[in-house]
Subunit: 360 residues, 4 copies
C-alpha cells in the first residue's frame, strides 16, 4: 500500500510539491545491466517541460534530473534508482492571493478538507509538476521495453472539437514533434494551434485528447483478474491530472456495435496468429494479443483560467476569484510525453512480471 | 502483488473457473462488528445470476454463497472471510468442440499463449462467472459504506444506439429492477428490450453502457498520487469483462469544453461547500468533494455469438467456428450488480484508508 | 496490504477458524505447467495432522484438502488455486467454559481487545489449525523449488533441555519420521519422547526447537534492502504460533565471536565459489550464497495446560481456570512440516522474483 | 512488491549507495498535522553517525538531512516526504583495491552473482550507510507513536561475552548515551569498551546484542495471520546489516521452559488487564497486550577486519586480502539508534493500521 507508488515489480515512488526545493522519486525493481545516464532521460524531460512553445505555460523550469543512485559505470546495478529534479522558477508570491480561497475545479478544497492543511503554492502536491517525475520513470522503463521492441506512439488527436481521424496510426516522436501541439496531421495541427491561441486570448482554456498506439509483438502481457493490462493502463492514465476518460481499442463506440461487427477474427500472418481487425485494441481477456495496443485519453480543459469565477473561501464565504499565475491554455501537447511515460512504466512492469508465468 | 486481489485495506482475493467445483474468495481487512449473514449477500447474487430473464443467458446457476469463516454469532470478527459458491449447471460437454480453437475476441488465445495451457471449459478463469465473487465482496463492502450513508445507484443507460438521457439521476435498486434490462426509464427500457430480443434472434449480440451515480457526503476519499479515487475506480471497473471505456463526470465530452464551461463553481449550501455544477463528477484532484460521483462504463457486445465466424485453431490453421453454448445477447443488465459491487469495494477501501489521514 | 497473505509473487492468502465449517486458502502467482493433484499435498498434510502419535494432541482431524481451481488435467494453469480443508471433529462444547475468560498466554485477550469480539471456540483464527493451510501452500511451493533442486530438511533439535548437537546436518523426511518426535538422532529422540510423556502426565507442556538445513545451489535469492532472504524467512517463521526466536546461521552465539572467527573464507570447489565455514548460514547481505541455509526456530511450550491457572474474566474479574480440551504437550513434532512449508513458500517466492534481476 | 520499502500504511522507501552523491528516501502514508522540521530528525542522525567515539569507525560523515517535500509551515501535509542525506567523506580510492575480490562475509559475492554488476565502493547498496535513511524514517515515526505515549528504549546489552543482566529495564536515551558503547550499566559498559578497544588493536572485530524495551499501553497492535507485530518487527530487524537472531520476550530460553513456567497469568492492575510475568514480551497471538514489548537482537562481528584473510577473486582465483579502510570494531553502539528507528516505524505502521479494526 503506497499511494505515491506505481507498479508491482518495476515500481516508481515519488515526492514533491510544485514550489518545494525539489521533486523526485525512487525506481525500484529495475533490472541490472541497463545502460543509463542522465542524458537518456533529459530528452524526454525536455519534451514535457513548461515554456517550450506558444501553446504552453510560460512558467520556465529547466527540469534537470540528477541520478543519485542505482547506476555504476553507466549501468543499472539492480538497486533502487533515486533521482531529484530541483525546482527553480518558483515565484511563490504569485500564489499568496489564493491562499485563503478554493480555486474552482482544482484540488484545493479536497486536499484541505482531507488533510486539514494545504500547501497552496502552485497546487502543492496536486500540481502537474509531479508528472516530470513520471517522465523519468518512463524513460528508464522504455529502455526495458525496447529490449523486446515494444514501441509507443503518443500524439494529440483532438483539441476542442478539432479532431484527427487516423488516430490508430503509428507516428514517431520526431513526426509528432514537428507540430508544437504534437498532432502529426499538419492541417489539423494548424487548426488546433489557432484554437488554442484564440482560447488563450480569451483567458480561457480548452480540452483535448491524446491517442496512443503501441507496437507490441509480445503476447501475454497482463494478468487475470485484477492486473489486466487494460485495467492497469487505465489506472495509471487516470492518475494523470485532468484525465476524464480512458478508452481501449474502439472504446466508447463499442456500445453501438453488434458482436458480429466488434469481434476481431483471428488469422495467420507470417506464421503468427493475428486478427483481421483490431477493435479489441490489442488486449483480450485483459492480456495483450500481439496487435497494436490502442488507447484514447480525454483531458479536461485546465482549471486555471484568467476569467473571474465564483468560489468560496477557506472560511466558507462566497467570493470571486481572478487567478493571475501562468498556466497552460490546453494540457494535451505537454501531456504527450507524460502519457508515453505512464504507458512505458505499465508495460515494463508487466514485461518483467511475465517472466514468472510458467515453470521452467 | 497479487493479480487476483482488489483493494488495499479492504481486500478481496478470488479463485475459480467457470466449470470447476466452485468459485470463491477471501475478504481481508473487513472491520469487526458488522452484522453479516449469507442472506445479506444472497439478494445481490440473485440480481447477477444467469437465467433471470429473457434478455440474459439461459444457463442456470443457483449461485448460493456459503460463508466459511470470519463471522461469529452473526457479526464479522475482523478475521478473513472465506466463502465459496459451488458450480452447479456445468454441461462441460458443450465446450469440447472449442477445445482446439480460439474463439474470436475471447481470452482463449491470450491465455493459452501466456500460460501454455488453458481450461477451455466455458472460458475457465476468464469467464464472467468470476464476477459472482465480486458481488459477494461488494455486498459486504456496502455494509461498510452504508455506515456513512454512501449510496450507489447503477443502471443501464445505453443499449446499442438507444440511450437514456437523464443518466446523472439517482435510482434505487427497486426502481432499476422494474425493468428486466435494468434501465429505469420505462419507455427507453422497452426499446432496449426489443433491440436485445431482435439481436438474439439474429444470433448476434449488442453493446451497451452502465451509469453510476453515488450519493456521497464524505469529502476526502482517494489519495494523491497513485490511489486517486477516480484511478482506483477506473482500474476496478476495467477489470470487469467486456469493459472498453470508463468516464468520470462529464467524461469524454470534456474534450470539447472550455475551462469556463467545465469548471464547477464552489457555493455554500446549508453551511457545506458544494458546487453549482458537477462536471468533475464528484472527484477533484483524485479526491471526493462531496458531490455525487458520476461514472459511465461502456461494455462491448458479448464475443459469443451464434453466427459462423473465421478464426484459427490451436495448431495455427484457419478454421470456421460456430458456437452452440448459451450466452447473454447483451451483458449490461447483469453487469449492473457487478458494477455496483466493484464501486462499493473501492469506496469501502478508501473509507477505511481515510481513517489514517491525520494525526489524532 | 493483506494481513492474511504471505509472499510477493508466489502468494498464499488464507481464511478459517478452528471450529468453522472449513479452513482454506488461495495460492496466487503459481506458475503454469506444474503437475499437481491433491495426492501431492495430502502426504504433507498427514505429517501435520493431529492425533498422529502419543506425543501430539488427541484431537483427530482427517484434514483432507480439496483443490477447487487453478489446475486442469493435472497441471497448474497459472490462475489462482483455491482450496478448502473441511473441519470435522469440532466438539465446540469443549470451549463454552472458556467463553468468558482469557486463557493465559493465549490470544483470547488480545483478539477480544482489538476487535471487540472473539470466536472463542478453539481459539478461532488464532488456532494453529491455520497452519494446515500453510502446508498446502508449502506443498505446491516445493514443486517450484524442486525444479532447481532446492531441498529442505526440518527436524526437532531440542525439547526442553534435551538437545541434538549435529543440527546443521541434512536429514530426509523419511529419516526424520522414524522418530515420532521427529528428531533424527535416535538416542536423543528417545529422551525427548520420555520427557514429553512425563510432561503430559503432569498436565504440563514443554518448549523446543526446530532446525532447518536447506540445500541450495542458487546464488542470488533475496533482495536488498527490505526483502532480504533472511528477513523474509524470519517474518514468515515468526508467523507460526508459539515462535519466540529465529536464528540464521550461527545465530545468537555470534555475539561472542570475533570477526576473524565468524568470517566465512571464500574458496573454490569444483569451479564454484564456496565458503570453508558456514557461520553466515547461507545468506550474506540478505542474499543466498550457495551454501546450506541454516535456521533455528525456538517454540514456547503450548499455552494450554491442564493445571489450574490464575487469569481474568472478560468482565475483568480475577478467576481460576482449568482447561479440559485436548492439546499438544509439545508443539515441535507437528511444527516440523509447518516450518518446512513456510520455508518452501519463501524460497519459491524469491526464486520467481529472481527471474527479474537482470535485463535480458 | 517493493524491495526497498518498509511498512504498509506508514511506508519508507529508500535509495543510496555508500559512495554515491547522496542517499535518501520517501516516507509515504505519514498522517497530516505532525510538527516536523529537520532539527527533529538531526538529533537521531547524530546518534548514528560515524566517527562519534573511540569505539566506532573513524569515517566521518556530517549526515545532514534535507527535507524536500511533505511539510508546509512546519507541519506534515499528508503528502509524501522526500529527503536526502548528501554523501561527503567518500574516499573512493580506498576501495579500488577490493574491486576484483570478494571480501569474506560481505555482500560482494552475492550482489555480483545476482546482478552481474557491483558498486564495490564501500559495499555500495549493501553498506550500513543505508541505515541513516531508516533513522530519518524512524524519527518521523516516533512523532506518531508519541501521540499515544509509546516509548522505545534501546541499548547495548552484550559485547562478546560481556553481558548486562537487567535487559528488560527501561532506560532513556540520555541514560543510554552516558556510555559511548551505549550500555546503561556503567560497570558493564567499562568492560565492553575495554574489550572493543582491545579487539580493535588486534585488527579484529566483535559481536554483540541490543535489547529493546517498549513501553506500550496500546492493546491491539499487530494483525493475524501474516502481520503479527512480532513477525513484522522480526522482519524489519533482520533487515539491519549483521543481525543473526531476533528474540521476542523470553526468546530462545523458552525452549527449556514448561507451560506452567512460561505462561503469563492475567491480573487486574488499576482496572486494566495486565500480566504478572512478561515471558511473552508484550505480544500474544501476534498482537500487543499492553505489557512492555521485549526484544533482543544479536549482531555478528563486523566482517571488515584488518587481518589477512583468504578469499577468491572475481575471476575465481584463490587470493589473500588485507582490507585497509576504516570500519567499526563492533557494530552495536551505532546500531542502537537504528534498532530504535526500525521499531518506531513498525509500531507507527501498526498504530495507523489499527484505526481500521472495527466498524464505527
Amino acid at each position: 500500500m503506497s499511494s505515491n507508488s506505481l507498479g508491482k515489480i518495476y515500481r516508481l515512488t515519488t515526492f514533491g510539491e510544485s514550489h518545494g526545493k525539489a521533486i523526485g522519486g525512487i525506481i525500484d525493481g529495475c533490472p541490472a545491466g541497463i545502460e543509463l545516464t542522465e542524458v537518456d532521460i533529459q530528452q524526454d524531460l525536455d519534451r514535457r517541460k513548461p515554456g517550450q512553445s506558444s501553446v504552453t505555460t510560460e512558467r520556465k523550469e529547466s527540469d534537470i534530473v540528477q541520478l543519485l543512485s542505482g547506476t555504476f559505470e553507466g549501468k543499472t546495478t539492480g538497486t533502487s534508482i533515486g533521482f531529484i529534479i530541483p525546482n527553480k522558477d518558483q515565484r511563490s508570491k504569485d500564489y499568496s492571493a489564493i491562499k485563503d480561497v478554493y480555486r474552482p475545479s482544482h484540488a484545493d478544497f479536497t486536499y484541505e478538507s482531507k488533510y486539514g492543511i494545504r500547501d497552496y503554492r502552485g497546487g502543492g502536491r496536486s500540481s502537474a509538476r509531479e508528472t516530470a517525475n513520471w517522465v523519468v520513470g518512463g524513460a528508464v522503463a522504455q529502455k526495458i521495453i525496447n529490449t523486446v521492441e515494444i514501441d509507443i506512439s503518443c500524439y494529440v488527436s483532438k483539441v476542442g472539437s478539432i479532431e484527427m481521424l487516423e488516430s490508430d496510426s503509428f507516428f514517431t516522436d520526431a513526426e509528432v514533434d514537428v507540430s508544437i501541439v504534437r498532432c502529426p496531421n499538419q492541417s489539423v495541427s494548424t487548426k488546433m494551434i489557432a484554437l488554442i491561441e484564440e482560447t488563450k486570448k480569451q483567458g480561457d482554456s480548452i480540452g483535448g485528447a491524446v491517442s496512443v498506439v503501441i507496437k507490441n509483438d509480445v503476447v501475454g502481457l497482463g494478468r487475470p483478474i485484477f492486473n489486466k493490462l487494460s485495467a492497469d493502463l487505465s489506472h495509471a492514465l487516470f492518475s494523470i491530472n485532468a484525465v476524464k476518460s480512458v478508452e481501449i481499442g474502439i472504446g466508447k463506440s463499442t456500445t453501438e456495435l453488434k458482436g458480429s461487427e466488434q469481434n476481431d477474427a483471428f488469422t495467420i500472418e507470417n506464421g503468427k496468429v493475428k486478427t483481421s481487425s483490431n477493435n479489441s485494441g490489442g488486449v483480450q481477456g485483459g492480456i495483450s494479443n500481439g496487435q497494436d495496443i490502442l488507447i484514447t485519453i480525454s483531458f479536461k480543459p485546465p482549471a486555471t483560467i484568467s476569467q473571474k469565477q465564483f468560489t468560496v473561501s477557506t472560511s466558507n464565504e462566497q467570493v470571486d476569484i481572478e487567478v493571475e499565475g501562468r498556466h497552460d491554455p490546453c494540457v494535451v501537447p505537454r501531456a504527450v510525453p507524460v502519457v508515453k511515460a505512464i504507458c512505458a512504466m505499465v508495460l515494463a512492469d508487466h514485461l518483467l512480471l511475465k517472466r514468472t508465468d510458467k515453470i521452467e
